[in-house]
Chain length 215, copies 2
C-alpha cells in the first residue's frame, strides 16, 4: 500500500509480473489489460467481472491476463494499488493539539476527487461488499493505517476511534460517490468537510468513556 502517486499505467507490482524484456509490446499489453480491468472493477465491482470479460474488452487472449497478473484478484490488487490511503494522512494526524476533523474529511474527499484515484477507490468500494479480497484490503486500511496513525499521534482507544472514523468516511463515500444522493453528491468538498468535520473531531478527540466500558 505504497506509491499512491503512481499512474495507473505504471507496471503492476504483483508477484509473477515480470518487466517485459524480449517481447516488444508486452508492457503495452499489460497496461491495456490493467486499464480495462480497472474501468470494469470501478463500474461493477470485482465479483461481477470475469477474466474472460476483461480479456474480451481489452482485445487480448485470456491466457495473457493470467500470464501478467496470475488471477483476477492479482489484477484487482495491481489496479487499486495504494489508492485506499490518502497521501498525508499520517502527517495530518500527527497534530494532536489541533482540531483536524474538518481537515481529515477534506483530505479524504479531495483524494476521491482526483481523476486518477476515483476509479480505483470506486473499484474497492464496489467490491468490498461481495469480495473477501477487497474487504481484507479495506480492513487493513482501518487496522494498519488509520489505527496506527491514531496510536502514533497518542490517541487513546485508537482502534475504536479508527473503526468509527472509518465507518463515517466509508458511509460518506457511498452516499456521495455510489448512491450519488443529493445534496451530498454535489456539495463542494469544503462544504461537505465543514458539515462532517465536527463529527470527525468528536471521534478523533472526544471522550470515548462509554466505549471504554465495553468488552
Amino acid at each position: 500500500m505504497t506509491a499512491q502517486g503512481q499512474a495507473v499505467s505504471d507496471p503492476p507490482a504483483v508477484p509473477g509480473w515480470r518487466r517485459p524484456g524480449r517481447r516488444p509490446g508486452a508492457h503495452h499489453t499489460a497496461d491495456r489489460i490493467l486499464d480495462t480491468a480497472l474501468a470494469m472493477f470501478a463500474e461493477s465491482g470485482l465479483d461481477s467481472v470475469t477474466v474472460r470479460g476483461i480479456a474480451a474488452r481489452a482485445d487480448v487472449d485470456a491466457a495473457l491476463v493470467h500470464h501478467f497478473y496470475r488471477s483476477k484478484e492479482g489484477l484487482f490488487t495491481a489496479a487499486v494499488d495504494g489508492a485506499a490511503v490518502p497521501p498525508g494522512l499520517a502527517e495530518l494526524l500527527r497534530e494532536p493539539l489541533t482540531p483536524v476533523g474538518e481537515a481529515l474529511v477534506a483530505l479524504f474527499l479531495a483524494h476521491w476527487e482526483r481523476p486518477e484515484v476515483r476509479p480505483r477507490l470506486l473499484a474497492v468500494l464496489r467490491s468490498v461488499p461481495s469480495s473477501p479480497v477487497a474487504a481484507g484490503l479495506m480492513r487493513d486500511c482501518l487496522d494498519q493505517h488509520l489505527t496506527a496513525a491514531l496510536a502514533e499521534a497518542g490517541a487513546d482507544r485508537a482502534a475504536e476511534r479508527a473503526a468509527l472514523i472509518g465507518a463515517q468516511l466509508i458511509g460518506l463515500a457511498i452516499v456521495r460517490y455510489v448512491l450519488r444522493s443529493e445534496p451530498l453528491a454535489s456539495l463542494p468538498v469544503d462544504r461537505a468537510a465543514a458539515a462532517a468535520g465536527p463529527v470527525m473531531e468528536m471521534y478523533l478527540a472526544g471522550p470515548v468513556a462509554r466505549l471504554r466500558r465495553a468488552g
Copy 2:
C-alpha cells in the same frame, strides 16, 4: 416498503406473482426459490448471483424462477421487501425535544441484529455498490423515509441531515457486519449506540449553519 414484520417465507409481493390456486406445491416452490435467492444475495450481492445459479441451488427449473418472479431484480425486491427501514423510525424522530441520537443508532443496530432481518439487509448492502436496483432502493430510503421523517419532525435542512445520518448508519453497518472489523463487530448494541449516539445527535439537532451556505 411496508410490511417489515413479515416472515421471509410470506408470499412475495411482486407484480406477476399469483397466489397459487390449482397447482399444489407452487407456493412451497415459490418460497424455496425466495429463501435460496435471499441466502445467495446476502452472501455475495445481486450482481454476482444468476437466475440459473438460484434455480440450481433451489433444485428447480430456471423457468419457474421467471414464472414466479419475472426477473432477478423482481426476486431481489421480493426477497428484501421492507427490510431497509427499521420499524419505529418515524415514531422515534417525532420527539423533537428529546435527544434521540443514541436511540436512533440502537434502533438501527437492533434491526440488524434480528435473525430474520439481517440477511435481507446484508443482501441490500452487498448489492448497493454494483446494482442500480439496490442503490435506488437505498436512495429511496434516504429520500422518502429518513428525509420525510426528519421534515415531519420539524428539522430544518432535512435532506442534508438525512444524507449525513444515512452515511453514518451505512458506514457503521459496513464496518460491523460486512468488514466485521473489531472492536466494532463484537461491541454490544447498547455500547455501539452510546459511542455513535452523540454524533447522531449532532446530525439530528446540531447547527448546520455551514451547510446552509452551500449551493
